[in-house]
C-alpha cells in the first residue's frame, strides 16, 4: 500500500516534468501574443499584452486573491453539491428503470437551459448570496458525473452479478462491494469534466449578480477598460481549473489504483 501510495505521488510529479512540450507551446503562444500587441497589431486597451496581464496579477494581487477565495469557495461547494446530487441520482436511475426513463429526458433538457438566462432569475429570486451560485455551478457540472457514473454501473459484467447471486449475495451488498467500486473510475472521469465547466458556471453566476468573486472582478474591469485585470482574472480561473483537474487525477490514482496498473500516464493514453 505504502509503495503504491508513493508511486501514486511520484508518478504525477514525473508526468509534470514530462509536460515540457506543453510549456514550450505555451511559451511560444505567449511570445506571439506579446509580439503582436507590441508591434501594434491590437490596441492594448482591447487586447493587453502578456506582460501587462502579468503586471496586473502582481499589482492587483490583493484584490485578485480575496476575490479568488470567494470564487474558489463557490466552485468547491458547487462541485460537492453536484457530486452528491449526481451520485444519488445515478444510483436511483441505476436501480429503478421507472426513474431512469422518467428522469433522462429532463436531465438532458437541464443542460440546454442557457445559463445567462437562468442566472439572473435565480439572483432575483434568491438574492446576492452564495445559494444562486451553487445552483448554477451544480447545474452545469452534475450532468457529466451522472452520465459517466451510469456508464460505470452499466460496465459491471452481468456474469459477475449472476455469480454472486449463487453466493446468495444481497442486492445491497452487491451494489456496495461490486457495482460502486466498478463505477468509481467513471465517477472520477465525470468529476474531471465537471470541475472545468464549474469554473465557467461560477463566472456566469457572478456576472448575473454579486459583489465579489473573480467573475465580478472581470465584469467590473471590462467597462473601466482595465482589460489587463480582466485577463488576469481569467488566467487565475484557468490555473484554478487545471489545479482542480490535477488534484482529481491524483485522488483517482490513490483511490482506484487498479484502473491505472497498466502504467497509463497523466493525461496520456497507453502507447
Amino acid at each position: 500500500m505504502s509503495a503504491g501510495a508513493r508511486r501514486a505521488l511520484v508518478m504525477p510529479a514525473r508526468a509534470l516534468l514530462r509536460q515540457w512540450r506543453a510549456a514550450l507551446l505555451l511559451a511560444t503562444l505567449i511570445g506571439i501574443w506579446e509580439l503582436y500587441v507590441d508591434l501594434g497589431g491590437a490596441d492594448p486597451l482591447i487586447l493587453p499584452a502578456p506582460h501587462a496581464v502579468a503586471a496586473s496579477m502582481y499589482d492587483d494581487r490583493g484584490l485578485l486573491w480575496s476575490n479568488f477565495l470567494v470564487t474558489a469557495e463557490e466552485v468547491l461547494l458547487g462541485i460537492l453539491v453536484a457530486a452528491v446530487t449526481a451520485l444519488a441520482l445515478a444510483t436511483a436511475m441505476h436501480f429503478f428503470v421507472t426513474i431512469r426513463r422518467a428522469v433522462y429526458p429532463l436531465l438532458i433538457a437541464s443542460q440546454t437551459i442557457p445559463i445567462p438566462m437562468l442566472a439572473p432569475v435565480l439572483v432575483l429570486w434568491l438574492g446576492f448570496g452564495i445559494l444562486p451560485k451553487l445552483i448554477v455551478i451544480a447545474l452545469v457540472s452534475f450532468f457529466s458525473i451522472v452520465i459517466t457514473t451510469l456508464a460505470g454501473f452499466a460496465s459491471v459484467d452481468p456474469e459477475l452479478l449472476k455469480l454472486v447471486r449463487t453466493f446468495d449475495m444481497s442486492r445491497r451488498r452487491a451494489f456496495f462491494s461490486i457495482e460502486l467500486p466498478t463505477a468509481l473510475p467513471g465517477v472520477f472521469t465525470g468529476a474531471k469534466i465537471a470541475v472545468i465547466v464549474a469554473v465557467i458556471g461560477a463566472v456566469f453566476a457572478e456576472q448575473a449578480g454579486s459583489n465579489s468573486g473573480l467573475g465580478y472582478v472581470f465584469t467590473q474591469a471590462l467597462p473601466q477598460l482595465l482589460t489587463a485585470r480582466a485577463f488576469a482574472a481569467v488566467v487565475i480561473l484557468s490555473l484554478f481549473a487545471i489545479a482542480l483537474f490535477c488534484a482529481l487525477t491524483l485522488a483517482e490514482r490513490l483511490t482506484v489504483p487498479w484502473a491505472h496498473s497498466t502504467g497509463t500516464e497523466l493525461g496520456e493514453t497507453d502507447r
Binding site: 454472486v164 449463487t166 453466493f167 451488498r173 461490486i178 496498473s261
Partner: protein, 264 residues
C-alpha cells in the same frame, strides 16, 4: 489401499442411496426443456427433454457443441433460471464461471473470500478463514496480489477457491479452463482432480474439451447441438489420477467424440 476422501465420500453417497430409495441426489434434472423468446425474434430452444443426475460427490462432465445449452443447464442447477417443463431438484450450488471475473481492486485473498463476505462474515474473519485455503492451493505468497499480477492459471485457482468457499454442496463449473493455453490447462486439470479429491463436492463440469471430460468425470453426458438433448451417457470407472495416454482414456475419448458425430 488407503481410501481418498473423495472415494470415501462417493462410497457414502452410494451407501445413502442404497439405504433409502427416496434419498435425493444433490442434482436431479428430469426431462427439462427451456426455450428463450426475445421480442419478435424466433424463439430459441436451448434444452429439450434433458435429464441428468449427479450423486453425492460425483463429478458429471457435460460435453457438447457450442450453443447446446450447457450454460443454461448450469444456470438451472444454480437456480438462476427456471425450466419451462420438467423438474430441477438441486442442493444449493455455487457457480464457477468460464472467465475468472475476479474483482480487479481486491487481493487474491479478498477475492477468494468473496462468498464468505456475501454470507455476512466480517472482513477480518473472512480473511482468516480463506487464508489456510490459499496456502493449501499453493497461493500463499500471492494473497496480497491483485488479479492483474496473477497468471491465468492462478486466477482460475482463486476463482475455483472463491466458489468452493461458498460452502455449497454442489459446484457448477462452466468451462473453467477454456481460456487457458494448452499447457496451463493440462496442469489445471491435474490440479482440479487433486483439489476435488482433497475436498469432494458434487460437481457438474461443463466443457468443450472431450479429453478433460474423460479425465475428470465419473460420467460424461454428451449433448447434441441446439436444442441440447442427451445423446449419450458414458460411465468412466477409472482410478484417479488418470493419464491422458492411458489406452482406456483414449478409447473413452473416441467413444465420446463419435457420439458427438466427430472423428472415428
Amino acid at each position: 489401499m488407503i481410501e481418498t476422501p473423495l472415494q470415501a465420500s462417493r462410497a457414502l453417497g452410494a451407501d445413502r442411496a442404497g439405504h433409502s430409495e427416496q434419498a435425493a441426489a444433490p442434482v436431479e434434472i428430469d426431462r427439462v426443456s427451456r426455450t428463450f423468446r426475445r421480442g419478435r425474434r424466433p424463439a430459441v430452444q436451448a434444452l429439450a427433454d434433458v435429464s441428468l443426475r449427479a450423486g453425492a460427490g460425483e463429478i458429471v462432465a457435460v460435453v457438447g457443441p457450442s450453443g447446446c445449452g450447457k450454460s443454461t443447464l448450469l444456470e438451472l442447477i444454480c437456480g438462476l433460471q427456471r425450466p419451462d417443463t420438467g423438474t430441477v431438484r438441486c442442493a444449493p450450488a455455487a457457480l464457477m464461471p468460464q472467465r475468472d471475473l475476479l474483482l480487479p481492486w481486491a487481493s487474491a485473498l479478498d477475492n477468494a473470500a468473496l462468498a464468505l463476505r456475501a454470507a455476512g462474515v466480517g472482513r477480518d474473519r473472512s480473511r482468516q478463514l480463506a487464508r489456510p485455503w490459499l496456502e493449501r492451493f499453493g497461493l500463499a505468497e500471492f494473497e496480497r496480489a491483485r488479479p492483474a499480477e496473477l497468471s491465468g492459471g492462478m486466477r482460475q485457482r482463486v476463482s475455483f477457491l472463491r466458489s468452493l468457499l461458498a460452502g455449497k454442496p454442489v459446484l457448477a463449473l462452466d468451462e473453467p479452463f477454456a481460456s487457458l493455453d494448452a499447457i496451463t490447462r493440462a496442469e489445471m486439470q491435474g490440479w482440479l482432480d487433486h483439489a476435488l479429491t482433497a475436498e469432494p463436492r458434487t460437481v457438474v463440469l461443463v466443457t468443450h474439451d472431450v479429453e478433460e471430460a474423460v479425465l475428470l468425470g465419473d460420467r460424461v453426458v454428451v449433448l447434441s447441438g441446439r436444442p441440447g438433448r442427451v445423446v449419450a451417457c458414458i460411465e468412466v470407472a477409472l482410478a484417479r489420477p488418470r493419464r491422458r495416454a492411458d489406452p482406456t482414456v483414449v478409447a473413452l475419448r473416441e467413444r465420446v467424440l463419435s457420439s458427438l458425430g466427430v472423428g472415428g
